[in-house]
């Protein structure tokens, strides 16, 4: 294991000192240090990496967060913030010498302003709960990661989470107006504004997606949108994946910006059809789901245009959802892709590369070559609209050899994504998982710039250290990708 994970032993004396310091202002229930209490926090959604934290702190107020940070800063104790723990890249992996700052008690919706279309919420509020609570006003919060019933808005801010509607409605960074919180020294900060901009550098954009390394967020102001009056989905079949990829390009080239545009290949549709019976065409080499939303007039208009484009782009079959139940059924398979694949293989490893859409055929062929090279199967689900691929390598973690082959397979695919002009992570974050691939994507000078930015907020490197940005020494030592895989926790959650 690398430098970020090297501290395995908990120093009992240090633990006592830190726990006692926190106990001077926190109640007993908010400071956990006995292993039976701290073990549940040993990992987030990436369970291949585990570390029991030295101390877990569970603050309930902003003042408590500030005091925890001040106290840890003074004692030079690393702090790892954690939201709902559903992240897929180990961004909330604890440290054996650190305090895990669990924000789970920050669960309140503080203010809803329907006229201004904003909601002010605490970071522990689940993404989906925001849309639920503003629904009576005809509004919703647009980003919809599939784990939205559980993942917290604070975690979404840390990871810049997306969802299936990003092409039209954007990511977290496009839908958050302001965040409030503290830097590691306990200094209160606020980035952004309830106005549409703030003076100076765009620190809001910098903070969003910073994987909890620049500041601890205690309040988030989100932008709300009017709920579209209606939505319908076109489902189209293709007899090869490249034609399906070209059909995606043809839709965009026709000036259509669908609300959602998703692709699944045959191995993926077969896995999910057995699981959820979404009504997918099992003969098709690939299926596309294209959603249109808006007023009934707009949707009718757009659906007709989409069908025409798909027909001339070589779709072998198209069908349109007739009602809301059928629309949800078409989506159910896509949303259940990860758990469905989990049923046909002991383990799977989910990748998260993004590529320019025009390179899709090339990358899928490359993945096919890798399947043969490594003797492993790899169904593909794909946010086709924004070029975000989630190939799922199937393997058995009990076989050391399969694990090794999976690692090499994944590393080759991620490096291929970089080679075609894409990125190693579209929406799951770097965390500890892809930290070595950062060395492939960025030069030493670029990584140094990231470190310099980190030092601007946290000169001693105490806030979530060792995540997201590798040291240059680590890159120098980087050979190949390390162990991945194993089951996801929260396996009941839809994922994509």
């Amino acid at each position: 294991m690398g430098e970020a994970l090297s501290l395995t032993k908990i120093d009992a004396e240090r633990q006592r000192t830190v726990a006692q310091a926190l106990r001077t202002f926190l109640p007993a229930r908010a400071v956990l240090w006995q292993e039976e209490d701290t073990r549940p926090y040993e990992c987030d959604g990436l369970t291949a990496y585990r570390k029991v934290p030295m101390v877990v702190a569970l603050p309930e107020t902003e003042e408590q967060v500030q005091r925890i940070l001040r106290s840890c800063h003074a004692m030079e104790v690393p702090v790892v913030p954690r939201g709902a723990g559903t992240g897929l890249s180990g961004g909330a992996l604890p440290r054996g010498d650190g305090v895990l700052l669990a924000m789970a008690k920050f669960m309140r919706v503080l203010r809803i302003d329907p006229l201004a279309r904003v909601a002010v919420v605490q970071p522990g509020v689940p993404n989906g709960a925001i849309s639920d609570v503003v629904s009576p006003f005809g509004l919703y919060y647009a980003p919809d990661p599939s784990s939205q019933i559980a993942c917290s808005i604070g975690g979404n801010v840390a990871e810049n989470s997306g969802g299936v509607h990003c092409l039209k409605y954007g990511l977290t960074v496009h839908n958050v107006l302001r965040v409030r919180g503290f830097t590691i020294d306990g200094e209160p900060v606020s980035f952004g504004s309830e106005a549409l901009d703030a003076p100076g550098y765009d620190l809001l954009a910098l903070a969003i997606g910073s994987e909890g390394m620049l500041a601890v967020i205690t309040e988030v102001t989100v932008k709300l949108l009017p709920k579209p009056q209606t939505a319908r989905v076109v489902m189209a079949s293709f007899d090869d994946v490249e034609t399906a990829g070209q059909a995606v390009a043809a839709i965009i080239a026709a000036g259509i910006l669908p609300a959602g545009l998703e692709m699944m290949d045959k191995p993926a549709t077969q896995a999910v059809e057995e699981f959820v019976h979404a009504g997918y065409d099992l003969e098709a080499a690939a299926i596309l789901l294209c959603e249109s939303d808006g007023t009934p007039e707009e949707v009718e208009d757009e659906i007709a245009r989409v069908r025409a484009v798909l027909a001339s782009a070589g779709a072998t079959r198209t069908s349109v959802s007739r009602d809301e139940a059928e629309r949800l059924r078409f989506w159910s398979g896509r949303k259940a892709a990860f758990p469905a694949v989990g049923r046909i293989s002991p383990d799977y490893y989910c990748m998260d590369g993004t590529i320019p859409r025009k390179r899709l055929g090339e990358v899928l062929n490359f993945i096919g070559d890798m399947e043969r090279k490594y003797g492993l199967r790899c169904p593909n689900v794909f946010h086709a609209g924004d070029g975000n691929l989630h190939p799922l390598i199937l393997f058995d973690a009990a076989s050391a050899d399969e694990l090794r082959r999976t690692e090499r397979f994944a590393a080759e695919v991620l490096e291929k994504c970089v080679a075609v002009g894409g990125t190693i992570t579209g929406e799951h974050g770097v965390g500890v998982e892809k930290i070595d691939q950062m060395c492939v994507q960025f030069s030493a000078a670029e990584l140094e710039t990231f470190h310099a930015l980190k030092r601007a907020f946290d000169p001693q490197g105490l806030l979530n250290p060792g995540k997201a940005v590798p040291t240059l020494r680590r890159c120098a030592e980087f050979g190949r990708m390390r162990v991945h895989g194993a089951q996801l926790p929260h396996s009941e959650l839809p994922r994509f």
Binding site: V173, T183, D202, A205, E298, R357, T423, G426, G429
Partner: protein, 354 residues
């Protein structure tokens, strides 16, 4: 790194060594904006041209010196646009200057700001290092989002040499509706309408008259126009009016009084200032022609939950942008030092202290 970049990098390295301030500049169309430009001129216009553009990818990558008008014309030929409608302010405006200024036009409240469309950037920092952040893909969470940080940084963090932007299809049709209503009612109305599923792409209120632009499919515009009422404007005249607001050639912007850009929560009450205003972005952007002192304007903006920028004219030496809270000011200085330790890039353009 090509020869042109190598030459610019060498220039920056030499300047850093001798602590010579550099004034990074494209077409100079926004020299009036921000602190007074100073230092030795570093003209970015030589590094120009569209690097890649494939309409079906919804991404364009171009070099800093590319004229904004040229870029927009190429997009228009392909039925696409920069959805944030950046102001040019003069025919010489370049893409690099556009991103450095970070300004957005009438469509901002509906479509997003310039920074929302930045996907990646290549930059020469204050040590002359050639750095790439982000990329040409829609979703990318590898590393801190430096390319968005560069948007609106006024060249104080580096020479923004190349930018990748998300582009969008042009709407099939646009119509403009006009309504007579006083300020308070216009604010309430535009906020209420923004909460309904209506294809509103811009609003402007001035002197008792509210203009609302709708963009989208013919059928959707017809349905929305029926619902909203108002008086439909002739489409060519309306298009000219929106351009006049975007480029500040409308009569409101004429005259010597300093122009303030007041950015507020969209539903903030009318500002307690006597001078005439032009209100865009559904209430979130209020232009104010006022000779009032900075403290008065900034005080009114802060009280309403926003901030005021001395946009054009007036006494720039006293500071153009709203002062930062001490914690943020410290972060700004540290970030500036991370990119430009010698403090040579566009000094004083954003804040006097750096």
């Amino acid at each position: 790194m090509d020869a042109a970049i190598a030459a610019l990098a060498e220039r920056i390295r030499a300047a850093a060594e001798s602590r010579q301030a550099l004034c990074i500049r494209g077409g100079g169309s926004k020299d009036f904006y921000g602190g007074e430009p100073r230092g030795e001129l570093l003209d970015a216009r030589g590094y120009a041209g569209i690097v890649s553009y494939e309409p079906s990818e919804l991404v364009v990558t171009a070099r800093a010196g590319t004229p904004l008008a040229e870029l927009e014309a190429v997009l228009a030929d392909n039925g696409q646009m920069l959805a944030f409608e950046p102001p040019h302010f003069s025919p010489g405006a370049t893409l690099g200057g556009c991103v450095a200024a970070g300004l957005s036009g009438p469509r901002r409240a509906a479509a997003g700001a310039l920074r929302d469309f930045v996907l990646g950037a290549r930059v020469l920092d204050g040590r002359g290092r050639w750095l790439a952040f982000g990329g040409e893909v829609m979703k990318n969470v590898a590393g801190y989002d430096v390319s968005r940080l560069l948007a609106g940084s006024l060249g104080t963090l580096g020479l923004i040499a190349q930018v990748s932007l998300k582009v969008l299809p042009r709407p099939q049709r646009e119509i403009t509706l006009a309504f007579e209503m006083p300020e308070a009612r216009a604010l309430e109305t535009t906020n209420r309408w923004a909460g309904l599923p209506l294809p509103i792409s811009a609003t402007a209120w001035h002197d008792g008259r509210l203009s609302v632009r709708l963009s989208g499919a013919e059928s959707a515009l017809r349905a929305a126009a029926e619902k909203l009422g108002g008086e439909a404007a002739a489409s060519e005249a309306a298009a000219r009016d929106w351009t006049a607001i975007r480029e500040q050639t409308a009569p409101f912007f004429a005259g010597e009084a300093p122009l303030w850009r007041v950015s507020l929560p969209s539903n903030a009450k009318p500002l307690a200032l006597p001078e005439a205003q032009l209100i865009e972005w559904g209430g979130a952007l209020r232009w104010l022609k006022s000779g009032a002192d900075a403290a008065t304007v900034r005080g009114a903006a802060a009280q309403a939950g926003g901030h005021a920028t001395l946009f054009r004219g007036g006494d720039r030496a006293a500071g153009v942008f709203a002062p930062l809270a001490p914690a943020l000011a410290r972060l700004h200085r540290e970030i500036k030092a991370a990119f430009d330790p010698a403090g040579i890039l566009n000094p004083g353009r954003l804040y006097r202290e750096f």
